[in-house]
Symmetry: C2
Subunit: 333 residues, 2 copies
C-alpha cells in the first residue's frame, strides 16, 4: 500500500465532529500531508483547512482525495459518488477508510483504470493472518482501552509514542484507518475476519528488542454492545504490559447508543485487567487519559486530579497536559 500525498480531505455531508475523525487525525498529527478540504454544501463541520475545489486542489499539487469521514455502517454514500468520480477524472488516487470497498464498485474500478489512478481501501487488510496463540513475545507493549469507542485512544497513544520516543525505542502500531493514514501502515482490526482478531494483533506487534515498546492504538470498548469482541481480541493479542484507560468526561451514553449507559472507570479498569491477564499476567494500568474537551482548563485539571487520586494513577488530557507522568510509569516497567 503506497499512499500518494499531499491529500485533499473530503468531508462529504458530515454533521458531527466524530464523523470526520479521519480528516481531523491527519490535520492534527501529519498536517504536512493535507493541503485543503472539500465538503458538500450541507456539511456543517470543518477541519480548519481552506476549502478547495477538486480543480483548485489539483492545481496546488494534491495527489489523493481522502474520504475523510465515516459513518456507522461504513458504506459509501450515493451523494459522495459525484465528487469521487470528479477526483478520479482529475487524476487523483482515492483513499477510503470505509467498510464498503471502492474496489468492489465496478463503475469506480473502471473509471480508475481509465484514468490510471489507484483506489486505496485502507480498511481492508490484504495480509494473510493466522489465529492467535497467546504465546509471550519479546519486547514491551502498551495498549489504550476505553470506557467507550471514540474516547481518545489514537490521540493518547500517538501522544505517548511521541514523548516516549525521546527515552526509549518505540513504534506506534495503528489499528484503525486514521492511524494507518497517519502511520503509513497498520491493520484495520475491525475489518479483520473475526477468527483472526488476536492473531492479527500478534502479527502487527511481533517479537522485538527487550527494551522496545510497541504503542498499540486501541479500538472500541469491552462495554460497547457492537464492538466489544474487537476490543477483547485486541486486548488478548496485544499482550500488553502497560494499559492506559481512556475516558470522555461528560458523555451521557455509549457512542451511537442512546440507551446504553457508560461504565465507570473503576469497573472498566477491573474488567480489562481481568481479561488482559489471560495472555499477560503482569498487565497493569500506567495512567488515565481524559478527554476534557467539554470543560474549561480549571475544571479539566480538577477532574484529572480527582481521577488520579481515586485510582492512584496519573490522569491527564493529552491535548491539554503533559503525558510525562504516564511516561514515567512506562519507563519503570
Amino acid at each position: 500500500m503506497k499512499l500518494q500525498s499531499p491529500y485533499l480531505l473530503f468531508l462529504g455531508d458530515a454533521r458531527d465532529p466524530f464523523a470526520i475523525k479521519l480528516a481531523r487525525g491527519v490535520v492534527d498529527w501529519r498536517p504536512e500531508l493535507a493541503i485543503g478540504e472539500y465538503s458538500l454544501p450541507e456539511c456543517q463541520i470543518t477541519t480548519g483547512l481552506k476549502q478547495l475545489s477538486i480543480s483548485q486542489a489539483k492545481a496546488q499539487g494534491a495527489k489523493s482525495l481522502v474520504l475523510g469521514l465515516a459513518n456507522s455502517g461504513g458504506t459509501i454514500q450515493e451523494n459522495w459518488i459525484t465528487t469521487i468520480r470528479a477526483a478520479i477524472a482529475a487524476g487523483f488516487d482515492i483513499i477510503s477508510g470505509m467498510h464498503q470497498a471502492l474496489n468492489a464498485m465496478p463503475e469506480l474500478v473502471a473509471l480508475a483504470k481509465e484514468h490510471g489512478v489507484t483506489l486505496n481501501d485502507i480498511r481492508h487488510p490484504k495480509q494473510h493472518f493466522t489465529t492467535g496463540t497467546g504465546e509471550p513475545r519479546s519486547g514491551k507493549r502498551l495498549l489504550a482501552v476505553g470506557t467507550d469507542c471514540s474516547a481518545g485512544k489514537m490521540y493518547t497513544t500517538l501522544a505517548i509514542q511521541r514523548e516516549l520516543a525521546k527515552l526509549r525505542p518505540c513504534t506506534f502500531r495503528a489499528t484503525g484507518q486514521t492511524g494507518i493514514l497517519i502511520a503509513g501502515e497498520g491493520v484495520a482490526i475491525d475489518c479483520v475476519v473475526a477468527d483472526f482478531i488476536s492473531g492479527a494483533v500478534e502479527s502487527l506487534s511481533p517479537d522485538n528488542a527487550d527494551d522496545h515498546w510497541d504503542i498499540i492504538e486501541g479500538q472500541g470498548s469491552l462495554f460497547h454492545p457492537a464492538f466489544a469482541g474487537v476490543s477483547l481480541g485486541l486486548l488478548h493479542g496485544a499482550q500488553a504490559d502497560a494499559l492506559v484507560l481512556c475516558h470522555v468526561e461528560g458523555r451521557a451514553s455509549m457512542r451511537g447508543l442512546a440507551n446504553q449507559p457508560l461504565p465507570d472507570i473503576a469497573t472498566t479498569m477491573a474488567v480489562n485487567l481481568q481479561a488482559a491477564r489471560l495472555t499477560n499476567p503482569n498487565a497493569k494500568f500506567v495512567g488515565i487519559s481524559v478527554n476534557t474537551s467539554s470543560l474549561d482548563d480549571t475544571a479539566a485539571q480538577a477532574i484529572c486530579d480527582k481521577y488520579a487520586a481515586e485510582h492512584n494513577l496519573p490522569a491527564v488530557d493529552p491535548l491539554r497536559h503533559s503525558v510525562a507522568p504516564i511516561i514515567e510509569n512506562i519507563c519503570a516497567i
Copy 2:
C-alpha cells in the same frame, strides 16, 4: 445457498477426531444426508460410514462432496485438490467449511464452470450485516458458552432444541459450519468481519413470538486467546435469557494451545454472566453440559452429580443423559 444432498464426506488425511467435526456432526444429527465417506490412505479416523470412492458414491446417487474436516488456519490443503478435482469432474457440487474459499481458487472455479457444478463456501457469509445495537428483542434466547472451544456447544444446543421442541416453539440457530450443514442455514460467525460480530448475531436471531426460543449455537470461549473476541460478540449479540455452560471433562489445556490452562467452571460462569448482562440484565445459567467421553458411565454420572451440587444447576452429558432437567429450567423462564 442450496446444498444438494446426499453427501459423500471427504475426510482427507485427518488424524485427530476433532478434525472431522463437520463430517461427524452430519452423521450424528442428519445421518440421512450422508451415504459414505472417502479418505486418503494416511487418514486415521472414520465416521463409521462405509468407505466409497468418488465413482462408487456417484453410482449410489451422491450429489455433493463435503470437505468434512477442518484445520486451524482453515486452508485447503494441496493434497486434497486431486480429490476435489475428481469430484468436480464426476459432477459433484463441493461443500466447504474452510476459511480459504473454493471460489477464490481460479483453477477450481474454471473446472466447476466447465462441469456445471457449484462450489459452496458455507463459512463465507453472503448477507450484509450492520453493527450491533444491544436493543432488546422479543422472544427468548438460549446460548451455549464454554470453558474452551470444541467443548460440545453444538451438540448441547441441538439436543436441547430437539427436546424443547416438544414443549415450546423453538429454532436452532447455527453459528458454525457444521451447524449450518445440519440446519441448512445460519451464519459462520467466526468468518464475519470483526466489526459486525454482535450485529450478525442480532440478525440471526431476530424479534420473535414472546414464547419462542432461539437456541443459539455457541463458539469459542472467553478464555481462549485466539477466539475470545468472537465469543464475546456472540454473547452480546445473543442477549441470552438462558446460558448453558459446556465443559470437556479431563482436558489438560485449551484446544490447540498446550501452554494455556483451562479456566474452572465457576470462573467461566462468572465472567460470562458479567459480560452477558451488558445486553440482558436477566441472563442466567440454566444448566451445565459435560462432555464425559473420557469416562465410564459411573464416573460420568459422578462428575455430573459433583458439578450439579457445586453450582446448584442440573449437570448432564447430553450424549449420555437426558437434558430434561435443563429443559425444566428453560421452561421456568
